[in-house]
């Protein structure tokens, strides 16, 4: 069974580049060395150190150009990194690195002025600063367009008032990516993005929320009490904040799906040792895993080719998130029934994997997005 799971399966065209297999081996080896031990401890891991370690192995900036502090290996290489993150038995580490390297850093890369690249992106890839992504608010989770944090022009800068909630890494990050509403602008061109350093006067952190899982990626609220920030911390054009964000969400969903598929795979590979080959539920989950993977690769292929990928990305996020949930539950049930394996680590896996269906766009938001994109 393991042979079938691990055996030959089609490699997508975008991973047929020269040196792809060596790169995968290097990523896995580096993760085994630095991320695996961090995943197995209960103390909060030090992301500055981890990212610096990845940097020393040329892995912290695969998708970024050399002149911006990356390695210039490209998006396909980054996708390999994202998939391998799913091997790490800590959803929190996977999510933290995704937020830092694949949610906020790409924004700076794409919309940042040269000074912002130097001030934020390059140190972020060296592990000198950690980034958080602050979008959600008490009244605006799924409905991101309804957010109430405001940005008002004030002299050479901006006044920010509002409250962001459930922000991963908020308590650890040095710089927060923040999206705010502009008063006199019309939706959807009424948002603006900022990079706000943690020690800016007027910024206040809430306590870390205890949570079901994702222990290595703590969440807290952030309050902006009439905070003033210079225009040099504005990221992208005023008005384009949400448009740019929605495009980035669609891309991040593909990378998140790669990770979710890999989480599912890890669970199925374990479960396969504890049941018989013809187990119907296992067979079905394997088939679903194959299909989910193929769908994610197709979405990735379209993204790389600058094609249409919105529906594919939402579908892929929906299917892979559900699969990560069902595969981890299946493995946990088997481990309990047969008193096999490490039940604790599978409990962690179930709790962590549950978040795929909630954060960065819930399952229901994926369904809404598919219906809207396909114009039902």
């Amino acid at each position: 069974m393991n042979q079938f799971l691990l055996g030959d399966h089609p490699t997508p065209a975008f991973w047929k580049f020269e040196g792809a297999e060596q790169l995968r081996a290097h990523i896995n080896k580096t993760f085994d060395r630095f991320l695996m031990p961090a995943a197995k401890t209960t103390t909060q891991c030090n992301y500055h150190q981890l990212i610096a370690a990845l940097r020393s192995e040329q892995l912290s900036g695969l998708r970024y150009a050399k002149e911006k502090g990356g390695t210039g290996a490209g998006l396909a290489a980054q996708a390999m990194f994202a998939e391998s993150l799913g091997r790490i038995p800590s959803g929190g580490i996977g999510m933290a690195l995704t937020i830092h390297l694949d949610m906020v850093a790409p924004f700076i890369d794409q919309y940042g002025a040269p000074e912002q690249i130097e001030r934020f992106l390059m140190p972020a890839l060296r592990g000198e600063i950690l980034l958080s992504h602050a979008v959600s608010e008490p009244g605006a989770g799924s409905d991101v367009t309804n957010l109430a944090t405001t940005a008002t022009r004030d002299g050479s800068g901006w006044r920010i008032c509002g409250h962001k909630t459930m922000i991963s890494l908020a308590s650890l990050a040095d710089v927060h990516f923040v999206i705010a509403r502009l008063a006199d602008y019309r939706a959807p061109f009424n948002m603006v993005n900022f990079l706000i350093p943690k020690d800016t006067p007027g910024l206040r952190l809430g306590n870390v929320w205890p949570a079901l899982g994702n222990a290595q990626c703590p969440v807290s609220d952030i309050f902006f009490d009439d905070l003033w920030i210079g225009d040099d911390c504005r990221l992208g054009m005023p008005g384009m904040g949400m448009i740019n964000q929605l495009q980035q969400f669609a891309q991040e969903r593909i990378l998140s799906s790669l990770r979710a598929n890999q989480v599912a795979y890890q669970c199925l590979a374990r479960a396969a040792q504890w049941t018989y080959t013809a187990d119907q539920q296992l067979q079905t989950l394997i088939a679903e895993w194959q299909a989910s993977r193929a769908l994610t690769y197709k979405a990735m292929q379209h993204w790389l080719a600058n094609g249409e990928y919105l529906s594919l990305s939402s579908s892929s996020k929906l299917i892979s998130s559900r699969l990560a949930r069902s595969a981890s539950l299946f493995a946990l049930d088997l481990a309990r029934q047969h008193s096999k394996g490490d039940v604790n680590s599978l409990q962690t896996c179930v709790a962590d994997a549950r978040l795929f269906s909630i954060s960065t766009g819930s399952d229901e938001m994926m369904l809404k997005s598919i219906a809207a994109t396909e114009k039902y």
Binding site: P10, A13, T284, A287, A291, K298, K368, I370, Y376
Partner: protein, 209 residues
Amino acid sequence: MINTSVDLMTLDVRHWLKSNWPDHPQWMQGKEIPEKAVLQSFIAEFAKPSIKDQLHHHLRALGRTPFLQLNRAIAVACCAANAKSKEFVHIQSNQSVLMIAAVDLGFAEYVFTELLAEVRQRQTFGVPLVRNQHVEFTLAELQAKLFAFEALWELAVENPELPANLELFQSLGLPLIHKLVDQYLQFAGGRGYLKGHGAEFAFRQVVVG
């Protein structure tokens, strides 16, 4: 009982349908029924020495018609023809799996299209059915699964050297088709239950045929 043994060379689809579904002549009118010539062009494809990429896509297109059982029978006949063709022996079983999956994929696409048309056109409580979130979400869920099945099939077709696993395609394709047909019947309401409606015909073939 439906006859699944088909000789492609002699098949007359209209006649075949008439003898298998004698009570459906009225509904069949105006439907796209594959002509004998189309089937013969499949066989011509087999005679070509190149790998049969196009054949897969033809079968998928053929699958986008209401006749799942017939189209599956045709795919099986294509597989049998394939088996006779020596130069494809090494990829033969792989190709057979993908041919049947092509027809299933096409049929799933056909049902989805009909289902979407139904819920867009049918009005209840003053709005099209699809404007209800339950209906919209059910369709989006099915479409996501359809995309996944399509992606898996495409990846397998693009990599003919690797083994394709029949159970794998069946354990995805058949439940998907069942679910699609079931929802088609459900969202078509009472009319869908009556003979003459595509939902009734699809359900009859897939679930109770």
